[in-house]
């Protein structure tokens, strides 16, 4: 999805840094199939989620030449269209599919505009606007990340049951994190945590978004 923008603009002071919130084993086949030219990093312990208060994928942060955040964490071109798809055939109604394509294109266009023009891009927010969009983590969220970190560590030691107990506590303290929930959940043959429990959790959102919509300007 980001390869075209990278190819076009990586010689002009722009790069993509893709981070898989995932195990290296699960991420490897995807990276090897796509063979992106930009760096693809592996964050098995979800450090980035702790540092930047990320709750799902794909989310993005725009960082300028001096290391300043010019767009805080936000949904990177995804929509909630999947919520209305047929859950057996995985087909989406036409209007939802069209909306998804439109949102994705608008986001990619915004990234391209900033990649090309930097600070003068209307999508690069000045500090006051960037700060206004930040969503600071609540106290329990730091505690949740500590439990998640311990859970991932115990999992690597082969202590599955204890790891799951840590994940359960993390998810209880940070129910908005889909990244924690899906990383810890059982996966199907395709490696997806998209069974009945996933849909029940999505449905429980009610009017709340799975992917929070983005204001591009």
């Amino acid at each position: 999805m980001w390869q075209a923008v990278f190819d076009e603009l990586h010689t002009q002071g722009f790069t993509v840094l893709a981070v898989a919130m995932d195990t290296p084993e699960a991420a490897r086949p995807w990276i090897e199939a796509a063979r992106p030219a930009y760096p693809c990093l592996i964050d098995r312990d979800h450090h980035l989620a702790d540092l930047y208060h990320l709750v799902n994928v794909p989310q993005a942060v725009w960082i300028d030449e001096s290391g300043r955040i010019v767009r805080p964490p936000e949904t990177a071109g995804a929509t909630d269209g999947f919520r209305v798809m047929d859950r057996t055939t995985f087909t989406m109604p036409e209007d939802a599919a069209a909306e998804r394509a439109r949102v994705r294109q608008a986001y990619v266009d915004a990234v391209r505009d900033w990649a090309r023009r930097g600070a003068v891009s209307r999508h690069a927010l000045d500090p006051a606007r960037a700060a206004a969009r930040l969503q600071p983590p609540a106290p329990g969220i730091a505690q949740a990340h500590a439990h998640f970190r311990l859970g991932q560590h115990l999992l690597r030691l082969g202590r599955e049951d204890e790891a799951q107990a840590q994940f359960a506590e993390a998810i209880r303290l940070h129910p908005d994190s889909w990244a924690m929930w899906r990383q810890a959940a059982p996966k199907d043959a395709r490696g997806l945590a998209s069974g009945a429990a996933f849909w029940a959790r999505v449905d429980a959102l009610g009017d709340r978004p799975y992917y929070r919509p983005v204001e591009l300007d």
């Binding site: 980001w2 002071g13 722009f14 790069t15 993509v16 840094l17 893709a18 898989a20 919130m21 995932d22 290296p24 090897e32 760096p39 990093l41 592996i42 964050d43 450090h47 980035l48 702790d50 540092l51 208060h53 794909p58 989310q59 993005a60 942060v61 725009w62 960082i63 030449e65 001096s66 290391g67 300043r68 955040i69 900033w114 990649a115 930097g118 960037a130 700060a131 930040l134 600071p136 983590p137 609540a138 106290p139 329990g140 969220i141 730091a142 505690q143 990340h145 500590a146 439990h147 311990l150 560590h153 115990l154 030691l157 204890e162 990244a179 899906r182 990383q183 959940a185 490696g191 945590a193």
Partner: protein
């Protein structure tokens, strides 16, 4: 053997001792595991020092060891451990995370690519960085 996880560090500490909710470390082990120095003025990192609360000194300090877990909680950071007390996470509190983000300076990190080569965000200073997450799940 006690292992301490802090930020992206994972440090095995043969001389550390755990006792219930207390984690006793000597100054050298504390510095290795967390980057914080235990000095007469308190726990210090960069320009910041947090005094060991005087009223709790007898509880938090024993000979040459500090109950780092107790001190960590005092500083507003999360502490979790496994049931054996052998694996500890000394986390970073939400207030510190929120403060770092509010400054709009992108928090630095180092992560490996598939070949194990480490990349730091700060390696890309001077470029516009589109930092984007994904996952297989």
């Amino acid at each position: 053997m006690i292992t301490v996880l802090h930020e992206q560090r994972e440090t095995a500490l043969p001389d550390a001792r755990a006792d219930g909710e207390a984690l006793w470390l000597r100054a050298g082990d504390l510095a290795r595991a967390t980057g914080w120095d235990w000095k007469p003025e308190g726990l210090c990192r960069d320009a910041t020092c947090v005094p060991v609360p005087r009223a709790r000194a007898s509880e938090l300090v024993r000979d040459d060891a500090l109950d780092v877990a107790g001190m960590w909680r005092h500083m507003g950071h999360p502490v979790v451990h496994d049931r054996t007390g052998e694996h500890w996470v000394l986390g970073t509190g939400a207030q510190d995370r929120a403060g770092a983000l509010a400054a709009l300076e992108a928090p630095d990190f180092a992560l490996p690519d598939l070949d194990g080569r480490m990349h730091r965000l700060s390696d890309y200073r001077g470029q516009r960085v589109f930092l984007v997450t994904w996952a297989s799940w």
